[in-house]
């Protein structure tokens, strides 16, 4: 590619935990590789729909603070999903941008993604395709196992983000979306629920837990009433799935998230339902979390409702 034909972003500031993500990789748990993929799947889907990209196109995920990017190339549109504050800096002006709205970028323009608001993850993409390598069918970066583009590492300053092609038939679109408002995180009782004392089981649902700073793409550690194990603080190691809440030997809950270790030996008290996973990952350290018990049948129905709601939002994009 001749350099004058190149379209790319230069990273002026990397932000926190900035990585490429798509829907993740399947069928590798047995060798120790988790799904990975965008933490908040709804915001991932909305972003690709807004930009008229394929449903599994790579996007850039960031946590708390996003990257500051400078663009070089021919005209392009970008969009951001999540609850995000960002500025668009051109030669003429500096404007505050809105999430779920597409903006034009010209050669030399900058996007400064300052922060996510009352949430953890945000997403950035363009009307086109980033030049990424695929590992086991996915471009998701898993920094723990160092799998994915950029040698499996998060983005760093001065890195250049290549754009392979730009969709020229693109129309600018937007969506009014305020995010979900349900308060409790709904869970299904786990395979080791009876390892815990009756009073601890009650406390688990009646009291609230605080999300600690020890939270990342692998897991979320909680602090609150100690959950008393009356059987055995360890089980024979067995498979985990995302959303599983294990209780450590110290009596604290730890929730498995998208880059989690694939097997573990702590008893499982409950599992977060699929419909509530996107909301769970967006809860910030320091905030409180309260759990509500639902049946498996209800969880399956709630997932269908979650999918309908996502599709409904996609149909509202204009």
């Amino acid at each position: 590619m001749k350099s004058k034909d190149r379209n790319y972003f230069k990273i002026l500031r990397a932000g926190i935990n900035t990585t490429y993500q798509d829907l993740g990789r399947n069928n590798l748990y047995h060798i120790g590789i988790p799904f990975s993929g965008a933490m908040d799947k709804r915001n991932f889907q909305l972003l690709n729909s807004l930009l008229q990209n394929d449903y599994n196109s790579p996007v850039i995920e960031f946590a708390y603070q996003g990257p500051h990017l400078k663009y070089f190339g021919k005209d392009i549109f970008f969009c951001i999903s999540g609850n995000v504050s960002f500025k668009i800096i051109t030669k003429e002006s500096v404007i505050d941008g809105n999430s779920y709205q597409c903006y034009l970028l010209k050669n030399g323009d900058e996007v400064d993604i300052q922060s996510t608001n009352k949430s953890v993850y945000g997403y950035f993409s363009i009307n086109g395709t980033f030049g990424v390598d695929y590992y086991w069918g996915s471009c998701s970066i898993n920094t723990q196992a160092q799998i994915g583009p950029n040698n499996g590492n998060k983005f760093s300053k001065d890195l250049e983000i290549e754009i392979l092609d730009i969709n020229n038939s693109f129309n600018k679109r937007k969506l009014q979306y305020l995010g979900s408002t349900i308060e409790n995180i709904r869970v299904i009782k786990g395979t080791n629920y009876d390892y815990f004392s009756k009073s601890s089981q009650d406390k688990f649902f009646k009291e609230s837990f605080k999300i600690t700073k020890l939270s990342d793409r692998m897991g979320m550690r909680l602090e609150g009433p100690k959950i008393e194990n009356i059987v055995d603080p360890n089980i024979k190691s067995e498979g985990l799935v995302k959303g599983v809440i294990q209780i450590t030997s110290a009596g604290d809950p730890i929730i498995m998230l998208s880059d989690h270790g694939t097997i573990g030996g702590y008893p499982k008290i409950v599992t977060v339902i699929s419909a509530d996973y996107d909301r769970l990952v967006q809860l910030t350290p320091g905030s409180n979390i309260k759990f509500k018990d639902v049946s498996l049948e209800d969880a399956e129905t709630l997932y269908k409702l979650y999918q309908m709601e996502t599709n409904n939002l996609i149909s509202q994009i204009k």
């Binding site: 399947n26 069928n27 590798l28 748990y29 047995h30 060798i31 120790g32 590789i33 799904f35 590992y135 086991w136 723990q144 196992a145 160092q146 799998i147 499996g152 299904i188 786990g190 395979t191 024979k236 190691s237 067995e238 498979g239 985990l240 799935v241 959303g243 599983v244 270790g261 694939t262 097997i263 573990g264 499982k268 599992t271 977060v272 339902i273 699929s274 498996l296 969880a299 399956e300 997932y303 999918q307």
Partner: protein, 224 residues
């Protein structure tokens, strides 16, 4: 051979093969794992075999718990299905700066380090499962007199290649990661190869491992 199928959350089956950890139960888990993997069923998104459980993750858009449970219950596996087994030899160096916990192990087992290592290297080990981090093999069983608990406080960083023991098991740290196993040595051999996407694991469930001892010079030679 599956005793019971429960749900793990709303998008995974929890297939229970028993509560003991032995090679017979584990071989049944592994047989089911390979059998279901070969069926390549659309909508199954992950299979996680472990000592005595098999977790089957699925796409909620394709299956419900009861529909997939029925499908799995109807799978018939012949008892005499042979497992494919490989014997894999892995070099380990036990020089002082690699054998991070040899002193602790000496104290706990009340054995001299040379005896500990002799016992460790005299046996072949069966691979029960791989995972936790990419490619990490869980191997067993250690002799009765070699068994001890994990470290009271886990290390924040266990060096890549570390070979550790705990209870009846040993393993190899395929990446630098936190961990609490008692480290006896280090292998220069790459156990997980990201660039080999069709077969990244050197060791797979059902395989047999033979560790052999090497000197620091040999270690550096292989590492080069």
């Amino acid at each position: 051979m599956i005793k019971n199928i429960l749900n793990l959350g709303d998008a995974a089956l929890y297939c229970d093969f028993g509560s003991d950890v032995n090679q017979e139960i584990n071989s049944n888990v592994i047989k089911y794992f390979y059998h279901i993997k070969k069926l390549n069923l659309k909508g199954i998104t992950n299979l996680t075999p472990s000592y005595n459980k098999l977790i089957i993750s699925y796409d909620l858009n394709i299956y419900s718990f009861s529909s997939l449970k029925k499908k799995i219950e109807n799978i018939e596996i012949k008892e005499n299905n042979k497992l494919e087994k490989n014997l894999i030899e892995i070099p380990v160096c036990c020089e002082d700066n690699f054998a991070l916990d040899i002193k602790r192990v000496e104290n706990k087992l009340k054995l001299k380090s040379e005896i500990i290592l002799e016992k460790f290297f005299s046996k072949n080990y069966f691979c029960y499962m791989t995972g936790f981090v990419a490619g990490m093999p869980f191997l067993g069983d250690l002799n009765q007199e070699m068994r001890l608990k994990r470290l009271e406080t886990p290390r924040v960083k266990v060096p890549k290649g570390s070979v550790g023991i705990t209870e009846q098991f040993c393993n190899i740290y395929t990446f630098e990661t936190p961990g609490g196993w008692n480290i006896l040595g280090n292998t220069p051999q790459n156990i997980f190869d990201t660039s080999n996407q069709s077969n990244p694991n050197l060791v797979n469930p059902g395989d047999t491992i033979k560790f052999y001892r090497i000197t620091l010079d040999q270690y550096n030679e292989i590492k080069r």
